[in-house]
């Protein structure tokens, strides 16, 4: 009897030890939980370059987290293509939100797509950190905690625009061309407001339809009014055509754009015709921030085919914001929404702080000028240093402008 008890006890002890050891082994060997993050942007079509630049940057951030070793979870990117088309955006946003494994999303370059999907994210209760769309009402037009934004808006951009061209460069006669989407109309509204604060009324406002190719009629009408500056509130594909046709019609004015044309594509497509064009981008120039340099190095090292483009760094930060939140509160959609709204830290684009609308309210926009096929921050450019003269300034003084473009 005693013997059998001993045997049974020892067997039980042995089993306990074995199970404990195996449990321990299991614990150390057990994979970290996989958490899926959604990325939505235009991966094909006209805006593909911007979308792919954003996706690569997003992936880069995820890769860095996964390799850091400090991560509690392993992150996986699921990418969706919105083609820059609102209907398609709603479709893929719904698809992303319907996948319960996707905890959080960073979505959209195009404003008209981002404004269309706000309701989807709200309905499904999934956080979306917008990484590229600049229409103010995406965050300010609703009280959805699900929709946040890491990049700035048209308000700051157009104020910075007016500061440069009116306050600093002294231009007074503006003709505005805008595309008739929400995005273009937003630029029209906020640039006009920025001008109005300086007592200036534009001499012309012309709307154009996206996918339109011929702008010669609009430009001919504007030419007759002799503007000093032609402002374009729209995106690269139309911007390229307008600038080209403006030159072909011999219009002697300064071309001024927004973040919509801040793409390498604009310079590549126009070549020497891009020289002296001014545009804006929210945030500080990434190249100048200490983290920005590392970002570019890591990006180049990762061997992506496409450049990060203007909003890559924002997509990178959007990924960081999402993963920071998930690390803290775990892969729970509702808790992540709450945590993302509390975002307040320093990243490669500088300080990021989300206000009550979920909008990064660090108000900053940097003007850029196209110089030898590159977008150069205005303050560093040969134009600011006085070594080159902007076309608009030469024309204003009644001089011919000699294009100083040198092939890069």
């Amino acid at each position: 009897m005693q013997k059998s008890v001993k045997i049974i006890t020892s067997i039980l002890l042995l089993l306990l030890v074995v199970s404990l050891v195996s449990f321990n082994v299991g614990c150390t060997k057990k994979e970290k939980q996989v958490v899926k993050l959604g990325f939505i942007g235009p991966l094909t079509g006209k805006y593909a370059k911007m979308g792919l630049g954003g996706l690569n940057s997003f992936k880069l951030a995820v890769k860095q987290w996964n390799e850091s070793g400090k991560n509690k979870y392993v992150y996986e990117v699921v990418s969706f293509d919105d083609e820059g088309v609102p209907q398609k955006g709603v479709e893929v946003a719904t698809k992303a939100c319907s996948d319960p494994e996707i905890i959080a999303v960073a979505a959209h370059y195009n404003s008209m797509v981002a404004i269309a999907t706000t309701d989807v994210f709200h309905k499904f209760g999934v956080v979306n950190v917008v990484w590229g769309a600049v229409l103010p009402s995406i965050t300010y037009g609703n009280d959805y905690p699900e929709v946040c934004r890491v990049n700035g808006t048209q308000v700051e951009q157009n104020e910075a625009n007016a500061q440069l061209v009116v306050d600093k460069l002294g231009f007074k006669k503006f003709a505005i061309i805008y595309d008739t989407t929400d995005y273009g109309r937003g630029h029209l509204q906020y640039f006009k407001e920025a001008l109005a604060r300086r007592g200036i009324t534009p001499i012309a406002e012309e709307g154009i339809v996206i996918d339109q190719k011929d702008f010669t009629t609009v430009l001919t009408k504007i030419k007759a009014l002799n503007p000093e500056v032609i402002y374009f509130g729209g995106l690269t594909p139309e911007g390229v055509n307008i600038k080209l046709q403006m030159d072909k019609l011999g219009i002697k004015a300064q071309f001024l754009g927004t973040s919509g044309i801040k793409s390498d594509d604009f310079n590549n497509a126009l070549g020497e015709h891009a020289e002296g064009v001014i545009c804006m981008l929210d945030g500080a120039p990434v190249e100048k921030l200490p983290g920005g340099k590392e970002f570019m190095e890591a990006y180049n090292k990762a061997g992506y085919q496409e450049p990060p483009e203007a909003y890559g760094p924002f997509a990178y930060c959007a990924a960081n914001i999402l993963m920071r939140a998930i690390e803290k509160v775990g892969p729970d959609r509702a808790k992540v929404i709450e945590e993302v709204n509390k975002t307040d830290y320093e990243d490669i684009i500088g300080k990021i702080h989300f206000n009550e609308y979920g909008q990064n309210d660090v108000p900053l926009a940097t003007p850029y000028v196209s110089q030898d096929g590159q977008w150069v921050p205005w303050d560093d450019s040969l134009y600011a240093k006085g070594e080159r003269v902007l076309p608009g300034i030469a024309y204003r003084e009644g001089k011919e402008w000699v294009n100083p473009y040198k092939k890069p």
């Binding site: 593909a48 010669t216 002799n226 594909p237």
Partner: protein, 315 residues
Amino acid sequence: MSGFAVILQILFNGIMLGIQYSMIAVGFTLFRGVLNVLNFSHGDVFMVGAFVSMTLIGAFGVMSATGFTYIGMIIIIFLLSMLIVGIIGVVFERLAVKPVSKGPVTMSLLATLGLGIAIREAVRLFYPRGGESKKFPELFHKLFEGTKGAFEFSGVIFRYENILFLIIGVVVVLVLAFFINKTKMGLAIRAVAQDGECALMMGVNKDLIIDVTFLIGSALAALAAILYGLYYNTVVFDMGALMGVIGLSAAVVGGLGNIYGAIIGGFVFSLTEALSAAFIPRGSEFMDVVAFAVVILFLIFRPSGILGEKVFERV
């Protein structure tokens, strides 16, 4: 710039567009004549023209050539693109247009619409990075090197290359008119258009005539595509969709079945667009609305178009 100069400039720009629209409209009219179909894939054949010529320009290395080789290459590229796209047009006709032409109208409508979408998507998927807009090379750049590329006449800018487009357009129309009216082949085309069976009895090889017609129509679309590429400097895989509808509208406004009508229709359409953009407040937003409204008005009040279809009683 005076008001008169503005109008003149707008008219000149409208004419540039009109040339392209006319070239496409002529195709619609020709096909409708010999096969009695509305070929909705024609706009996409036009788009293929742009991609073929762009590829040829790259393959020939035209931009690095000089002197006579350069001019020779330009001419070869124009002709070769037209020939290649012409043959592509004939292949499509045999595959998907002629086989359904005898059936009800809905069949040819669906078949050609489907063909158009298939062509468009094929270019998007199989051309390298086909979904993005492509920069079309500035082919004539060197011809006018050293000049300002344009002359100014009381504030109106006339670009040399645009004048060249105009000359090309006029020459093509004259050649086409000569071919249709003065050659045996042209006579055969007219015969088939009037009465296919009767032409067959007179010894006309109807299948050959249909092929030739598609060759010509598609080649003209290729020419329009090159002019389009040179004028806008960008081409994209879906550019044929709207151009196809515009081309058909122009053909209908001018009088479907009448070649001169198609040409006139092209200019009516482009000038309506240009003038509505210029003179209606916020017109540039609505120019397509106005232009297509004009098409609808024509359909209601003059369904046979400006010149009217040459209708022959069928026996």
